[in-house]
């Protein structure tokens, strides 16, 4: 790297790579749009009757109908609330225990083997127990999602805290930072990149477990729509729910990236344009 690189270099590089602020995301829409158009064509041309795999136009009609009756909003909100509650709970406990286990060898020796053992249990296996303990309503669903979210966040935070560079910590010691100062000015910024990754994988698992939770008996939610569609043979409803999951999952993940991006601008990465993906 030359000594004359100005602050504008990063932006310039980005522009040079050809993907502007809007063409990048547009490129990501290309594949699904082409596939959808192709399928629509196949059904219109009579190559497929479209009963098992309904064409996009019928899925859209289903969406429009669900939205007009307020059904769609009700199901989306129910699922979203469960994910938010479970993700929040799992993140809180995972961050706390992960930080403690990463910081203190004693705590790690005490809790890590048990948690790793529990992690080996497929989380779906908890469902019967959670239903007996917490009932069939919201509490057991949120608990299941929280369990799913907990492990990636616990592991990510513990690993991040353990791998904070001793050399950087020594800089903090040389400038006589207090315990709180060390956490705020050295440890937190140092673990943030790994923490964001842990949050994103935790959220992904949250979306996975919300379906499992809603399969175990729910009267609303996107998971309910899936079961309902299966029982009534309504493939459009199933596909509409799947598309809704895809959109919501991507949007919430994007939200995490968007919120944390300003704090991670310093990162030395090959690409710095994650927000635009």
């Amino acid at each position: 790297m030359t000594a004359t690189a100005g602050p504008a270099t990063a932006e310039q590089k980005q522009r040079k790579s050809g993907l502007g602020r809007f063409t990048g995301p547009a490129l990501g829409l290309l594949l699904p749009l082409v596939l959808a158009a192709g399928w629509e064509l196949a059904v219109r041309a009579g190559w497929s009757n479209g009963r098992l795999v309904p064409p996009p136009s019928r899925v859209y009609e289903e969406f429009a109908e669900l939205a007009s009756t307020g059904e769609l909003q009700r199901h989306v909100v129910a699922t979203l609330l469960r994910v938010v509650a479970g993700f929040g709970l799992g993140t809180l406990v995972g961050t706390l225990l992960g930080a403690l286990a990463g910081y203190s060898t004693l705590v790690r020796r005490l809790i890590d083997p048990s948690l790793q053992g529990l992690r080996a249990v497929p989380s779906i296996a908890w469902i019967p127990l959670f239903i007996l303990w917490l009932g069939i309503f919201e509490t057991s669903k949120v608990a299941l999602i929280a369990v799913g979210v907990f492990f990636p966040i616990y592991l990510g935070v513990m690993g991040a805290v353990m791998s904070v560079d001793r050399k950087i910590v020594e800089v903090g010691r040389l400038f006589r930072l207090s315990g709180i100062g060390m956490v705020r000015r050295i440890l937190l910024p140092a673990v943030l990149p790994a923490y964001v990754i842990a949050l994103r994988s935790g959220l992904g698992l949250g979306w996975m477990f919300v379906i499992a939770a809603e399969f175990m008996g729910a009267s609303e939610g996107l998971g309910y729509l899936l079961i309902d569609g299966q029982q009534l043979g309504k493939t459009t409803e199933i596909i509409a729910a799947i598309v809704a999951f895809a959109v919501l999952g991507k949007l919430t993940d994007w939200l995490i990236v968007l919120i944390t991006a300003p704090f991670l601008r310093w990162e030395d990465r090959v690409r710095t344009a994650t927000v635009e993906d």
């Binding site: 030359t2 602050p7 050399k167 950087i168 020594e170 040389l174 050295i186 943030l192 310093w266 990162e267």
Partner: protein
């Protein structure tokens, strides 16, 4: 006045890294510590910095015992160790958190002027070259105006041109505040260019083997005969220090030519 009083360091595994180091350093004095690898140079510096504590003896700064990092003692490492999430200016003012924001910014800006990096103030550390990053590290260490500045092989990761440039630069900066400089180095030229006194250490356990006083006039000419003379004395002392420590005696066959290759 920095005083080392019979400082020794024994690691928990029983290895004696330092033994009976006694040294008085006057204000504004520049002391270089040289020696073969594993002779405890860095251990000594870390003990003075307060990052490690000596197992025997005491370290005193103006009569006050140093047991943990001290506000009057700054340190520069072999790597710049800048915080990647802070801009260059924020890195420089890292040690000034307790001061008002405006004063902090003013001091950081002034320090960046002195190391010639004003135009880099808003950049991230990753955007700097190795020499620039080390200059930022020097600025960060000097901004709190330490009485003692410890340098642990500060220029050894840099190319020869950058190194000579930064050595001169360091002397300029030293002339402003005139702190005590204690410099650990592998590079005999560097020691002779910078130091008033050169302490040669020998290993197992780390002790001071010989002290060479260098009263060459400043600025020092690296090509002069007097410079060469001091350098030869240091190299000869290093050779002897290693010969005594060596168990397999191939050192006797070393010619004076080989002395320059001791590391």
């Amino acid at each position: 006045m920095l005083t080392l009083d019979h400082v020794g360091k024994t690691y928990p595994n029983g290895v004696r890294a330092l033994d009976g180091i006694t040294l008085d350093v006057k204000p504004a004095e520049i002391v270089a510590i040289v020696g073969g690898s594993g002779c405890g140079k860095s251990t000594l510096l870390r003990a003075i910095s307060g990052l490690d504590t000596p197992s025997q003896g005491r370290i005193l700064l103006d009569g006050e015992v140093v047991t943990q990092p001290h506000e009057k003692i700054g340190m520069i490492f072999q790597e710049p160790r800048l915080l990647p999430w802070l801009t260059v200016a924020d890195n420089v003012s890292f040690g000034l958190e307790h001061r008002p924001k405006r004063e902090r910014e003013g001091l950081a800006a002034a320090a960046l002027v002195r190391v010639g990096l004003t135009d880099k103030a808003k950049m991230w550390p990753r955007e700097l070259s190795g020499g620039q990053a080390q200059r930022v590290a020097i600025a960060r260490a000097l901004v709190p105006q330490p009485e003692v500045l410890l340098l642990d092989e500060p220029f050894s990761a840099l190319d020869a041109f950058t190194r000579a440039d930064l050595q001169d630069h360091l002397l300029d900066l030293w002339a402003d505040l005139r702190p005590i400089l204690i410099l650990v180095t592998h590079d005999v030229d560097e020691a002779v260019v910078l130091a008033d006194r050169i302490m040669v250490m020998r290993p197992q356990p780390g002790r001071i083997y010989e002290e060479i006083v260098s009263d060459l006039p400043r600025p020092r000419d690296r090509q002069s005969a007097a410079f060469d003379f001091v350098k030869r004395r240091v190299l000869a002392a290093l050779d002897r220090s290693l010969a005594k420590a060596a168990t397999i005696d191939d050192t006797q066959t070393k010619s004076s030519e080989g002395a320059a290759l001791w590391w």
